[in-house]
Symmetry: C2
């Protein structure tokens, strides 16, 4: 994963730093959060998905999939910056550093998030530069998929349900979630973007409908497994390793997998999800790094 | 303008309401701000620009330009919701109603803004539904142009400079703007999206490079005129008519045109800008409603 992580960070640098030769404060704030480390899980998934679907011309595939991989990391980073705000999860530590609003104040943190989200759509629709109608069609497909995954019927919708559940909406009582609602909230809040990460890599390299269906099934289960492990790490993990405040979910009274099922059953559910994810790969005989990523999700410690 | 306004609001309803059959809270909050009234100046400009470039097949042009007109109104509305937040301009009244965070709390207001921005890119890349490679190319062109105009080198960048100038960045002193910096800030903060509104209408109906250049020149001057009048109305206007808090700029110690040049010279500068805008139209013999819109900008009272 480390080589992949480096490749993604280099690509982010080339798309973002090269574009902003002088650095007004808003760009500094965007870069502060974007280059704070982070696992780069989602963009690595995008590149692996592009590689897996067709390995014949790896170099070209990378060039097609890299912009969207970076755009997804920008969207993920924007969501962290906004989720950490005092009006939401009110967190002061992220990726081992003070959060954006602690460093720059709330106003600029909100704008930095807005800038990262907007820049993601700039990258997806602009890069790679080409007039090829086939690539244009794929870019539009990816942009639509991303907007859907990140929007009110995806990530933003999930975060809104999370706020409602924890009683953070003005003049409204909290609304405890049952099991199904918890699953549905996570499917939107983290699952949708993870699915988009995998699927958009496959779209960019011209995957068939059947391949897209399998990648989507894989990523759906992968996202579920990822979220359950995230919840477990919030209970068990060491803050230094996580790079973010541990034990936060319990403090905020959030509905989590361990809170519903305990640690042991949660771990079993995560293992099951990862097994299902792999079985989707077998259906379309997709090989390569998507298997390794599935294993990593289960064994990760941060 | 009233017939146009109605057409835009109908289109917004058809793109937004039809998509969200059940209404989770996040959708309610997005719609609260989107359907609070508003002049619909930017989308009207988009439709007028599309009509002006080529009037041969108006019906088809409307169908091509309507989605992007609506997307621009979504982006404009998101920027109002975020700008009104306590961490930015801290305003409680907008379009004659309590602002989003007063109604729903800050967390949901931030998310509603995020949702509106994301949904704008969904609409631009998805609609109108077609596989025509020429339309696909135009959609990508518009999406890029919009992302640029709304992003850190456009609207978000201008708002960030505004925060810096009024001393709202943590641990930093305010940074008073000189005349050039004031102009540049407004060019980004309001000018960029107004330009995008006009240009994207023209792009969608297949304007020539020369026509695009003239529309761009027109919209640049129009945006300047619009902003100067906005500043004057903030000093002179009646709150009931504006639908937002009057006298706000002075309270926040903001750099404005009247503060630099006084009301009379500001009004003269606005008139000059509108004259220049019209002369750009003459260059490409663009007729029709773009002239009327320029006149309206100068005479408006809200």
């Amino acid at each position: 994963m480390n080589a992949q992580k480096k490749e993604v960070t280099e690509a982010l640098k080339s798309f973002i730093e090269s574009r902003f030769t002088n650095r007004p404060l808003i760009i500094e704030a965007m870069q502060y959060s974007l280059f704070a480390g982070g696992k780069r899980f989602r963009p690595i998934l995008t590149l692996a998905s592009a590689d897996t679907v067709e390995v014949s011309n790896k170099t070209q595939h990378r060039e097609l999939a890299k912009p969207v991989a970076c755009a997804i990391e920008l969207i993920h980073t924007y969501s962290l910056v906004h989720d950490d705000l005092p009006a939401m999860d009110n967190d002061v530590l992220r990726r081992g550093r003070p959060t954006s609003h602690v460093k720059y104040g709330e106003g600029l943190a909100i704008l930095a998030g807005d800038g990262l989200l907007t820049e993601a759509f700039r990258i997806v629709t602009e890069l790679p530069h080409t007039n090829d109608p086939i690539i244009n069609k794929r870019k539009l497909h990816v942009a639509k998929y991303l907007a859907f995954a990140a929007g009110p019927l995806g990530m933003v919708g999930g975060q809104s349900t999370d706020l409602e559940a924890s009683g953070q909406i003005l003049k409204r009582k909290n609304k405890l979630l049952d099991e199904e609602q918890l699953k549905s909230m996570h499917r939107l809040k983290t699952g949708a973007l993870i699915r988009a990460a995998a699927v958009s890599g496959a779209i960019m390299v011209g995957a068939s409908k059947e391949q897209l269906r399998c990648v989507e099934g894989y990523a759906h289960e992968l996202g579920l497994g990822f979220q359950i492990i995230d919840d477990i790490l919030d209970v068990e993990g060491a803050q230094e390793k996580l790079g973010k405040t541990a034990g936060k979910d319990a403090t905020l009274g959030k509905s989590t997998y361990p809170a519903f099922w305990g640690i042991d059953k949660s771990r079993r559910l995560a293992t099951e999800a990862i097994e299902k994810a792999k079985s989707h790969l077998k259906e379309a005989t997709l090989n390569g790094r998507l298997h390794e990523i599935a294993d990593w999700v289960l064994s990760r410690s941060n």
